[in-house]
Symmetry: C2
Subunit: 604 residues, 2 copies
C-alpha cells in the first residue's frame, strides 16, 4: 500500500458530434490552431466552430501517453527566435516534495532540460511586442480568437453584435498585429513560459474573448496526485482556459511536473504556498531566499503565471482590522503576518525588481494577487482593498519596465451595485492591464450555491471588462470540489464568460446562440444538445421526461405536449406572412385540428 506506482488515467475522446479541426494561418504554414467543429443533423444547417481548450485529448488521431507528456511544439519556436540557453537547472530536493518519499506517484521521467533567457535579448511576449516583432504565439492566438475565419470579410455580412463594451474595442477580425499592439500596450498577455512548450497559446485581454480559470490542487486534508492530473484534463474538456495548481503539501513538485507536461493550457501557481511548505508551515519563517529558490524551481518547470501578493504593504494591514471577515486570501494573510512580525515591508515588495528579473528570464507572467480582497459583501470596496489595488498599479509599471507581462487579480465578494467601480478603478490604477477576478459573489447567504452567487457577479464584471474569470464551484467555503463540482464550476463560468462576450458585442459570439435557438425552434433536439455547453446533461434531462428515441425527433416537447405547440404555430404565422392574411385565415379555418400533430404521429 505504501508503494503504489500508478499512471494517471485521463478522459479522452471527442465531444458529441464534434470534430477537432486545425487551422493554418495564411502567413504561417507551420502553425496549426485547434478548433472544435460541431456538425448539425441536417445538411442545410452550417457546422458551428467553437473555441477549443481541450487540447489533443479530444483528437482521436493523437495517442495520449501521460507518462511521456504532450508534444513540445513550442520548443522550436522559442529556441528559433534566439536569446535563450539550455542549462542543467536547479537540482530537485526532497523538500520540493514536502520531504516525503514519492510513494503515490513516480517522478515524471521525461522532464526536458530548462531554457532561460539571456541578458540583453528579448524574451517575453511583452518585450517582442514592444520591439515590434510578431511572434508565432501572436499569430496563433489571432487565428484562435477568429475561430478559424481567415479574412476580415468572412463575418462582416452576418455581424450581429450590438453590445456595450464600456471602452473595450472588439474588432470584427483579429490580426496578429492587433494582438502585438494589445500586448505592447500592456492590455493583454499571452501567458507562455518558455519551458511550457506543450502549450497551445491563448490570450487574456479586454479586447478578446473572455477567458475562465479553474483551480485544482490537492490539500493537506484530502485528494491525491493522480486525481489532480485528471482534474486538469477534465476541466479543460469543459472549457477552462487556464488552470491554477493550488496544491500544497506532499509531492507538490512532482504533481506540478505531471500537470505541466500534460497541459495544453497555461498553468498558474501561487509560489508562496510551496515556499511555506519549505519552512514548515510557519509564515514568519518565510524569507526572500526560500521564495527566490521556489520561483526558479517553478519557472524552470514551466509555470506560465505566478500569483505574487506584493501589494500587501505593512501600512495596509491595520486597515483590515475592523472588517467582518478580515483577510481571506491565503497568500495575503501570510504576507500580512510576515509584515507584522518583521515590522517592515514584505520581501515580495522589497525584492519586487528581483522577482521581475527572474520571471522575465522565463516569460512567467505576473498575476498580481489581491491579498486584501474582501471575503464578504460587508467588506467590499473598502480602504484596504483599494489601497492594495493602488500598489498593484505601481507594481504593474515596474514589471512592465522590467519587460514582464502582467495581469491583476480582483475580488471576491461584492454586491451588484459595487461591481462596476472595481473595474473602473482597476483600469485606471493599473494602466489597463488585464483584470482577473474571482467571481465576485453578489451575496453571502448561499453556501452550496456559490457557483451561482459568483456567476452572477462574474458575468457582470466580465461585461464591464474583466479579461479572465476565476471559477467558483458549488463547494466553495465548504469543501474540496470533486469531479462533478469542477464540471459545474467550469460550465457556470463558460456561461458567465459567454454572456459577457455577447453583452460586449463580440462579433461572433452570438452565432452559437442563434444556431442553438434555431435548432430548438425546429425541434432538432439532438442539435440543441450538441450545440450546448454540456450535451450530456441536456440529453439526460430531456430523457428523464421523454425517454423514447422517437421523442428525440418529436416536433413537440414535454412542456406543452403533443396536442398543442406554440413553436408550431409560429410556422403557421410565417406561412401567413408569406401567403397573405386572407388565404391563411381560410386555411386555418378549414384545417382546424389538422394543425396539431397527433400523439401517435409525434415522431413524424
Amino acid at each position: 500500500m505504501d508503494n503504489i506506482i500508478s499512471t494517471p488515467k485521463v478522459t479522452t475522446g471527442p465531444l458529441p458530434a464534434s470534430q477537432k479541426i486545425y487551422i493554418t494561418p495564411d502567413d504561417a504554414p507551420d502553425i496549426s490552431v485547434p478548433l472544435r467543429e460541431i456538425t448539425q443533423s441536417v445538411d442545410t444547417e452550417p457546422k458551428i466552430r467553437v473555441y477549443d481548450t481541450t487540447g489533443p485529448y479530444t483528437d482521436p488521431t493523437v495517442a495520449i501517453d501521460v507518462s511521456k507528456g504532450l508534444a513540445r511544439v513550442r520548443r522550436g519556436w522559442v529556441t528559433g527566435r534566439g536569446g535563450v540557453e539550455e542549462y542543467a537547472g536547479r537540482a530537485i530536493q526532497p523538500i520540493d516534495n514536502g520531504n516525503v518519499k514519492l510513494d503515490a506517484l513516480k517522478p515524471f521521467a521525461h522532464t526536458p532540460k530548462p531554457l532561460r533567457g539571456l541578458d540583453g535579448h528579448n524574451i517575453t511576449q511583452y518585450e517582442w511586442a514592444k520591439a515590434g516583432v510578431i511572434t508565432k504565439e501572436m499569430i496563433y492566438v489571432a487565428a484562435r480568437e477568429n475561430l478559424g475565419r481567415k479574412h476580415a470579410h468572412e463575418l462582416a455580412a452576418e455581424r450581429i453584435a450590438d453590445g456595450e463594451g464600456f471602452g473595450a474595442t472588439l474588432p470584427d477580425f483579429i490580426t496578429p498585429e492587433f494582438v502585438r499592439n494589445e500586448i505592447a500596450m500592456g492590455r493583454a498577455i499571452i501567458p507562455a513560459n518558455i519551458n511550457h512548450t506543450e502549450l497551445e497559446p491563448m490570450i487574456i485581454g479586454r479586447n478578446f474573448l473572455v477567458k475562465i480559470n479553474a483551480n485544482i490542487g490537492n490539500s493537506a486534508v484530502s485528494s491525491s496526485m493522480e486525481e489532480e492530473v485528471e482534474k486538469m484534463v477534465w476541466a479543460i474538456r469543459w472549457g477552462a482556459d487556464t488552470i491554477m495548481d493550488l496544491s500544497t503539501g506532499r509531492n507538490i513538485h512532482d504533481t506540478r511536473e505531471w500537470i505541466l507536461r500534460n497541459s495544453p493550457v497555461p498553468i498558474g501557481t501561487v509560489p508562496i504556498y510551496q515556499a511555506l511548505e519549505k519552512v514548515g508551515g510557519d509564515p514568519t519563517k518565510l524569507s526572500w531566499e526560500v521564495f527566490r529558490d521556489t520561483l526558479i524551481e517553478q519557472a524552470e518547470q514551466g509555470v506560465d503565471y505566478f500569483t505574487i501578493h506584493a501589494g500587501v504593504r505593512l501600512a495596509h494591514v491595520p486597515l483590515t482590522a475592523s472588517r467582518v471577515t478580515g483577510i481571506v486570501s491565503r497568500g495575503g494573510s501570510m504576507m500580512a503576518q510576515w509584515c507584522l512580525t518583521e515590522h517592515r515591508e514584505s520581501f515580495l515588495y522589497e525584492h519586487f525588481g528581483d522577482i521581475c528579473d527572474i520571471m522575465r528570464k522565463y516569460d512567467v507572467s505576473f498575476s498580481l494577487g489581491d491579498g486584501l480582497r474582501p471575503g464578504s459583501n460587508a467588506d467590499a470596496n473598502d480602504a484596504a482593498q483599494f489601497a492594495e489595488l493602488k500598489t498593484l498599479g505601481e507594481l504593474t509599471k515596474v514589471a512592465w519596465d522590467k519587460g514582464c507581462q502582467v495581469m491583476i487579480e480582483g475580488p471576491g465578494h461584492v454586491p451588484m451595485h459595487k461591481i462596476k467601480v472595481n473595474m473602473e478603478k482597476q483600469l485606471k490604477e493599473c494602466g489597463e492591464a488585464p483584470f482577473y477576478t474571482l467571481g465576485p459573489l453578489v451575496t453571502d447567504i448561499a453556501p452550496g450555491y456559490d457557483h451561482i452567487t459568483s456567476g452572477i457577479g462574474a458575468a457582470m464584471i466580465g461585461w464591464f471588462g474583466t479579461a479572465m474569470l476565476c471559477y467558483v464551484t458549488p463547494k466553495e467555503h465548504l469543501g474540496l470540489p470533486d469531479r462533478d463540482d469542477v464540471k459545474v464550476g467550469v460550465v457556470t463560468y463558460k456561461i458567465a464568460a459567454h454572456a459577457a462576450d455577447l453583452a460586449k458585442g463580440h462579433p461572433a459570439a452570438r452565432l452559437r446562440d442563434d444556431a442553438l435557438s434555431k435548432a430548438r425552434f425546429d425541434f432538432r433536439w439532438v442539435d440543441q444538445f450538441n450545440l450546448s455547453l454540456d450535451p450530456m446533461t441536456a440529453e439526460k434531462f430531456h430523457d428523464e421526461t421523454m425517454p423514447k428515441d422517437a421523442h428525440k425527433t418529436a416536433h413537440f416537447c414535454s412542456m406543452c405536449g403533443p396536442k398543442f405547440c406554440s413553436m408550431r404555430i409560429t410556422q403557421d404565422i410565417r406561412d401567413y406572412a408569406k401567403k397573405g392574411m386572407d388565404e391563411m385565415s381560410k386555411k386555418f379555418r378549414e384545417g382546424g385540428h389538422e394543425l396539431y400533430v397527433a400523439p401517435d404521429k409525434a415522431a413524424d
Copy 2:
C-alpha cells in the same frame, strides 16, 4: 388501479435551528404575521429574523390536514369590511376536469361557498387604497416587510444599505400608510382573491422586497395531481412567494382546488390553458363565452392572479414572422393563431373591460401576459415585443380605471446589455405597475443550466426594479422539473432576489449576509449552514470533505487545512490593532508555531 383514492403527503416541520414566530402589529391585535427566526449556536450572536413563505407547514403547533385545508383567517376580514355576498356559485361540470372520471384524486370535500363583490362597493385592494382605507392586508404586509421591526428606529442605528435603486425608494420602515399609497399609485399589488382566505398576504412592488414565483403544474405528458400539491408545499418551503399552477388536461379543476385550499401564498393561473381544454385543444374554437366561464370558475375558487394575454393584437402578429424563435409563449401563440383565423382582434382585447369587471368582483389581480416575449437572444427587444408592451401599458390604465390591481409580465431571453431598457420602457409605458419577469436568460447556449443563465438576468433586472422574478429550473427547455429541480430553481431565484435587494439598498437585507459571514469567519460551521438558503446542502457538501462531527467545530476548513488558516491570522491582526505594533511583533516572534492550531487540537 383505476380508482386509487389518495391524500397528498406534504413536507412539514421547521427548518434547522428555526422557529416560526408571529408578530402582532401594534395597531392590529387580531393580526398575526409569521416570520422565521434562526437561532445561532452562541448566546452572543443575535437571532436572525427572515421572511417566511412556508405557511403553517413549518409550525409544529399546527396540525396539517390537507383534506380540510388551511384555516380561512381572511374570510372574516373580507366579510367584515362589507360589499360582498355569499352565493351558490357556478356548478362544477365534467368538462372542468377534462371530461375524465376523477380517478386519481377525490374532489376536495370542504370547498367554501364563494363570495363576490357587489356593485357600488370597494372590493379590491386598489379600490380601498384609492379610497384612503388601510385594509388588514396592508397592515399585514407592512409588518411582514419590516421582518418584525415594530418601530422605525429599530434599524436606524445599524442601517448599512448603500445601494443604487434606479428610482426605487426603499424606506427604512414600511408603514401601512406607505403600503396603501403604493397600491393606490398602482406601483404595488397585494394579490388576494376574496375567495382565497387561506392566504397570508404579501406585496409585489418595486419599493418592497423582491419576490419570486415558482411554476408548478401537471402536463399532458406526465405528472400527477398528488405531486402538484406537494410541489406547492415544497416550493414555498424553500422560499417561493407565489405559485403559478400551469396545469393542463385531466383533473385540472380539482387539482387547483386542492392547491388553493392548502396554499398560504397567492396562486396564479393562465385561464386560457383551461379554456383551451374545454374546446378540445383547438385555439381557433376559443370564444369569449368559454373564456368568461373559465374566469368565473377560477375566480370563485380563489385564484389570486390571472395571466391575460390581451396585448397580442392582430397587427403585432406579423412582426414575429422573421424571428429566430417566433412566438414561444403558449398563451401568446394561441391568441396569435386566433387573431389570424378570425382576422380580427382577440376576444381578450375586445372584451378587456368585461374581463376587468369579473376580476374586480373577486379582486383577482391582472398579470398582463407578454405573449410576444422573445424566445432567444436574437429576438430580444424587437418590434413585436415592444409593440405588445405599449398595448399592455394602455390596458393597465383601463384595468386601473375599472378598479383592478395590475402587474406586467416581461421577458424571457435578453442579453445583459439589453436588460436595463426593458425595465425603463416598462416603467414608462405601464405607469410604474409592478414588473414580473421570466429570467431573463442572458445566453441560449446552456440548456440544462438555464436556472443559471436566467438567474444572472433575474438578479440584474431585479436590481433595476422588477418586483417579482419567475423562476426557471434546470429542466427549462428540456423537460418537466422534478422535486430537486423545483428546489434548485427556487434557491437560485432567492439568490437573485436577495442580490437585487442588496444592490437596491434594502435597509435590512444585508443583516443575514453579515451574520453568515461572521459565522464563517468565526468557524461556527453550524451557524453558517443554518443561516444559508439551503442548510441541508451546505452541511452535506461540508461533510463530503470533512465528515467528522469534530470538524463542525474545527477552527479551520478543508481548503487550507489545519496547519494554516488565513482567518485565524486576521484575529492576530485585530489583536495587533488593539495592542500596538511593537508588542504584537514581539509576541509573533516569540510565539512562532503556537499561532497555528495543531491537527489533534482542531476541535478546540
